[in-house]
């Protein structure tokens, strides 16, 4: 059980929780990855406002770095575009789902409100950003060994890159959210309410995140298509319609 608000060994607010200076910033990053419950208690229960900028910076740095690796195959222009768009997906998803996540937290009985749900999810995405950022050099190395967009075997290279990035992002997401789940369970009024709330958040964020990534396409520019920040018709169609049409064209439906 997490103790909070008191003095003594329960909370042990060390200097890193004060979030001052780059050294403390990196200490916080390490503590986040370990799922340090004292830090989370300090951030979420105490309602630390400075936890939000820390998480946002970690998301921007981690996901931005990984985004730049995704765009790297297509040249410097796409490197910058994807570095901007990958963190943007997370922030836009949280904006669209923010109110809903707060309402679901309350209605499902976890007693996690709007602000706390935002802090939880930002923390989860910060862990995901850290994981992605840490994997960026490895993925960059793999990317460098793939055929480029204008080389022979570009289609195979594109498909392999697509699968690789999907797998890495999924893995980072799962790792981050598994870490977060145990924290949500502890903070919620009951363990089962925490699990239900967490699952509802994840479902909602996946559903909306897929659509926002569709609106912000391209990320992996298919061979033969132009590099651009957004497609000329970003709001024409949605992810699920496109998936349905793709299945239809394969005569599966």
């Amino acid at each position: 059980m997490i103790e909070h608000g008191g003095s003594g060994p329960e909370i042990m607010v060390n200097s890193s929780m004060g979030l001052k200076g780059p050294a403390c910033f990196f200490q916080n990053a390490g503590a986040l990855c370990r799922g340090d419950k004292q830090l989370l208690a300090f951030w979420i229960r105490e309602g630390r406002r400075d936890s939000i900028p820390v998480c946002m910076v970690l998301i921007i740095l981690g996901c931005g770095l990984y985004g730049s690796v995704i765009g790297f195959r297509q040249g410097p222009e796409m490197t910058c575009y994807v570095a901007l768009k990958l963190p943007a997906i997370i922030f836009l998803t949280l904006c669209v789902n923010g109110l809903l996540n707060g309402l679901l937290g309350l209605v499902l009985g976890s007693e996690i409100g709007l602000r706390q749900s935002l802090r939880f999810l930002l923390t989860g995405y910060a862990i995901m950003g850290l994981t992605l950022g840490a994997l960026s050099p490895v993925i960059l190395f793999i990317n460098l060994n793939m055929p480029g967009p204008s080389a022979d075997g570009a289609l195979v290279g594109h498909a392999a890159t697509l699968l690789l990035h999907t797998a890495v992002i999924a893995m980072a997401g799962i790792l981050a959210h598994v870490r977060l789940l145990s924290c949500v369970r502890e903070f919620a009024a009951t363990r089962s309410a925490g699990t239900h709330t967490f699952m509802a958040w994840i479902l909602g964020n996946l559903f909306v995140g897929a659509q926002i990534s569709w609106n912000l396409r391209p990320f992996f520019v298919s061979p033969g298509l132009d590099v651009e920040f957004l497609r000329p018709d970003p709001f024409n169609g949605n992810f699920y319609e496109a998936a349905f049409r793709a299945l239809q064209s394969l005569s599966l439906l």
Partner: protein, 262 residues
């Protein structure tokens, strides 16, 4: 029978349950903070049984019911406005105001249709409560569903501006409605238990009836999503499953890949 005795009998199921208060520690908390909208919304989300408890204890339940109806109307109107953005190319388009009107009107009318059956089915399930209390339970149910729909409004807006297919958006709206109304049903069941319900099967049947009525209302008041050039289509009577099937088949056909509105 004097008023004191009457009050005692009316609150009997709650008093019986109040024995559990000390056990769970948070089942029935008093509705503190008055009947302003913000306070009621807070209680509706966090401790809805406090509202039910207050309704049963109140001599003037209208003080609770009226704000709940106000919350429902406001939430449904905003949600309807977001739904209306799918079909409206410009701000003076008919659907931008017709969709909220139809959603608010349709849901209030559905509630009115189902209110007597909720009272009877609750009584069959063993609930010992006044008609006003059941009206309050229904109001709280609609208000909670409306609040959750407001939470979904940004999601609906995103898909509304992105989707080409009216069937997709219609399907999404129905899914969201079922989710929201599911939370409402849980509230009704919890309220029923708090009011002494011994058998939940009757109220579950009522929940299904209510769901079918609201789904049929989407077909009766069509078009709500999409625009077929008319405000209402009362002449052609259809069961909702048949109407939805026709719409989906229309969109799935390869020659209708794009929205005919475009």
């Amino acid at each position: 029978m004097n008023d004191e005795n009457k009050d005692e009998i009316q609150s009997a199921p709650l008093d019986h349950r109040q024995g559990e208060r000390s056990y769970s520690g948070k089942v029935y908390e008093p509705l503190e903070g008055g009947y302003n909208l913000a306070n009621l919304i807070g209680f509706l989300l966090k401790k809805p049984l406090a509202i039910i408890n207050d309704l049963e204890a109140q001599k003037k339940p209208g003080r609770v019911i009226f704000p709940l109806i106000l919350i429902s109307v406001a939430c449904l109107a905003v949600f309807g406005l977001v739904v209306g953005t799918f079909s409206s190319q410009k701000i003076d388009d008919i659907q931008i105001w017709a969709a909220p009107l139809k959603i608010v009107g349709g849901l209030l009318f559905s509630s009115l249709l189902c209110l007597p059956s909720l009272y009877i089915f609750s009584c069959l399930g063993g609930v010992n409560a006044r008609f006003q209390t059941i009206t309050g339970v229904l109001s709280a149910f609609i208000a909670l569903s409306g609040l959750l729909l407001i939470g979904f409004a940004p999601v609906v807006w995103l898909f509304s501006v992105s989707s080409n297919s009216a069937s997709f958006l219609g399907g999404l709206l129905i899914l969201l409605w079922v989710v929201c109304v599911g939370f409402g049903f849980m509230l009704v069941l919890r309220a029923g238990r708090a009011l002494g319900m011994s058998n939940i099967s009757h109220v579950i049947i009522w929940c299904l009836v209510f769901l079918v009525v609201t789904l049929q209302m989407t077909t009766t008041l069509r078009p709500i999503v999409g625009d077929d050039g008319s405000l209402f289509n009362f002449e052609e009577k259809k069961f909702f499953l048949r109407y939805w099937g026709e719409q989906v088949m229309h969109d799935v056909r390869p020659e209708n890949k794009r929205d005919p509105l475009e």
